[in-house]
């Protein structure tokens, strides 16, 4: 583990030399954990109390109550719509942005600012973006869609740009030499080299948009999250359990489907 090489005699005496820096680091981590826990007000009796409360919560969540399935289905469908729309718009915006941000295709004074925009889109958590959109354009699915579009742009435009930067420039030069314009270069030299990776990114983003769209409702941006939050506030824990199980099932299904599609593409 350590980088030190003991002499042969020393190696014979201690088969596995104790790694003191590692032990000290572990000690420091433990000390930090204890100090930080005390600062955040985490203590053993609070933990014990919480365990009791957790037991009560679980007892109230079982059995899950699927009686209001109409509400549940409505929320899930809205989440699905938000995810589909946000992915479609996000991909449509990311395609040109990715090309503009690729340093091998566009000059630095275009790629620099575009990269900055993408970085800002990526840095802010989508729930924060969703809050801002809810305040600006009102409650409902529109705010959720807009927030997830921002998140999608931050993620896929960056990956698009990175994929484009890795292409072989020979084909671009060849197509350019025939006198093709910018759009033809993109269509015949760039796109064929990156298309399969783009599809992979898009699938991944659809998957993660689906996860996130079940959540933006917590801040009022539409989808099943709103139903979940309302049920929580009304202490309808059995309905909460039903919603959580449906979300897990939906995400599980999406993961299986996207895995299949990705395997088929390969």
């Amino acid at each position: 583990m350590s980088a030190t090489h003991p002499s042969p005699e020393a190696a014979r005496r201690v088969a596995f030399a104790p790694n003191w820096p590692m032990r000290l680091a572990l000690l420091a981590i433990v000390a930090y954990a204890i100090w930080a826990s005390s600062r955040l007000g985490l203590s053993w009796d609070r933990l014990g109390h919480g365990l009791g409360e957790g037991g009560r919560l679980l007892a109230r969540m079982v059995p899950p109550n699927f009686e209001r399935w109409g509400l549940l289905l409505e929320g899930m469908l809205e989440s699905l719509q938000i995810a589909v729309l946000a992915s479609a718009i996000g991909i449509a915006i990311s395609l040109p942005l990715g090309v503009l941000a690729a340093r091998n295709l566009s000059p630095w004074w275009i790629s620099g600012p575009v990269r900055a925009v993408i970085a800002v889109c990526r840095s802010l958590h989508y729930v924060i973006v969703a809050i801002l959109f809810v305040k600006a354009i009102g409650f409902g699915a529109l705010a959720g869609t807009a927030a997830l579009v921002v998140a999608s742009v931050g993620f896929i435009a960056k990956l698009f740009a990175e994929a484009i930067e890795e292409i072989s420039m020979k084909q671009v030069e060849a197509i350019r030499a025939t006198g093709a314009g910018v759009m033809k270069v993109l269509a015949y030299a760039v796109l064929p080299q990156v298309a399969s990776r783009f599809i992979g990114f898009c699938l991944y983003q659809l998957d993660s948009n689906l996860r996130n769209s079940t959540l933006v409702g917590i801040v009022g941006a539409g989808g099943i999250g709103g139903t979940l939050f309302a049920a929580f506030k009304r202490f309808d824990y059995d309905f909460v359990a039903a919603i959580l199980l449906s979300i897990i099932a939906l995400i599980f299904l999406a993961e299986i489907i996207s895995g299949r599609v990705r395997a088929a593409l390969r």
Partner: protein
């Protein structure tokens, strides 16, 4: 991919008259079907999504109004309130990452098929990892606020339980890729199970382990910034307050603080990773 149509044998000129197409009819049909499904999904979403046209119409105006109110950010709000909340957020992220390993390491060992040969245990571990990953950290935070009451404790546990699935999955994949040789040698020398893990497996997964831990810490810094929205402590609480009081210059201060911390965390992680790996 390439196929030719109209193959006529016997004619010596046939190879010159072959017509090349990029895809077989079957491929073309399936590609068309995929496009059709995509378009149908989008059309369905656009037609049935519940969007209020008036909201859509004045959205740009409203956004501009919001941004104007946010500018300039009022830096006077930064100290002490935002600063302390920021420190608390970092503590939540770090403690959550540390605590997640208490659950993630045993689950990863159980989920790795070469370490734990018992099939039902593999399945149980895999399922718990998937369940942990499927529930978002905000939802975990809601649950833990109901358990521990509002405060940073709920945030730490939410981050920890959300991270278990991610860390456990990556760690079990790293464990499954380890070479069996060192373990066998240790076992032949009479080493106990613990020694076998510590000296035979740990050195092999160590680089992956640190990489995963750093990566997850980076994500957790981002996620812990929003936990306060459901009452689980950290800077989200300050943000929520500021939004509810419509103090938009304070909101922009908080947002800039979050942005700065996230960027600094990303830079630290990138530096550490390039030094470690």
């Amino acid at each position: 991919m390439n196929s030719m149509t109209s193959p006529s044998f016997g004619d010596p000129m046939a190879p010159l008259r072959r017509e090349w197409t990029r895809h077989t009819p079957g491929q073309r049909l399936s590609r068309f079907a995929v496009w059709l499904v995509c378009v149908a999904a989008i059309v369905w979403a656009v037609r049935s999504i519940d969007i209020i046209p008036e909201f859509l119409a004045d959205a740009p105006e409203q956004m501009a109004d919001l941004l104007i109110r946010m500018w300039p950010p009022n830096v006077a709000h930064y100290y002490p309130e935002v600063h302390n909340a920021l420190i608390e957020t970092l503590h939540i992220a770090t403690l959550g990452t540390l605590f997640c390993f208490i659950l993630a390491v045993p689950l990863a060992l159980m989920a790795a098929r070469n370490i734990c040969p018992i099939k039902p245990l593999n399945v149980v571990a895999q399922f718990s990892l998937v369940a942990s990953r499927s529930v978002n950290s905000l939802v975990w935070a809601l649950l833990f606020v109901a358990i521990f009451g509002p405060g940073a404790a709920a945030g730490v546990f939410a981050i920890a339980f959300r991270s278990v699935g991610f860390v456990g999955k990556l760690l079990s994949e790293a464990l499954e890729e380890t070479n069996h040789g060192p373990r066998e040698a240790l076992r032949a020398a009479g080493a106990s199970w613990g020694a076998e893990m510590l000296k035979g497996v740990w050195p092999q997964v160590q680089p992956a382990f640190w990489g995963i831990a750093l990566f997850r810490w980076d994500i957790n810094v981002r996620e812990s910034a929003v936990l306060g929205l459901v009452g689980a402590g950290g800077i989200g609480l300050v943000l929520d307050d500021a939004i509810n009081f419509f103090q938009w210059d304070r909101v922009s201060t908080v947002l800039l603080a979050i942005l700065a911390v996230v960027l600094v965390a990303e830079i630290i992680v990138t530096r550490l990773r390039s030094r470690l790996l």
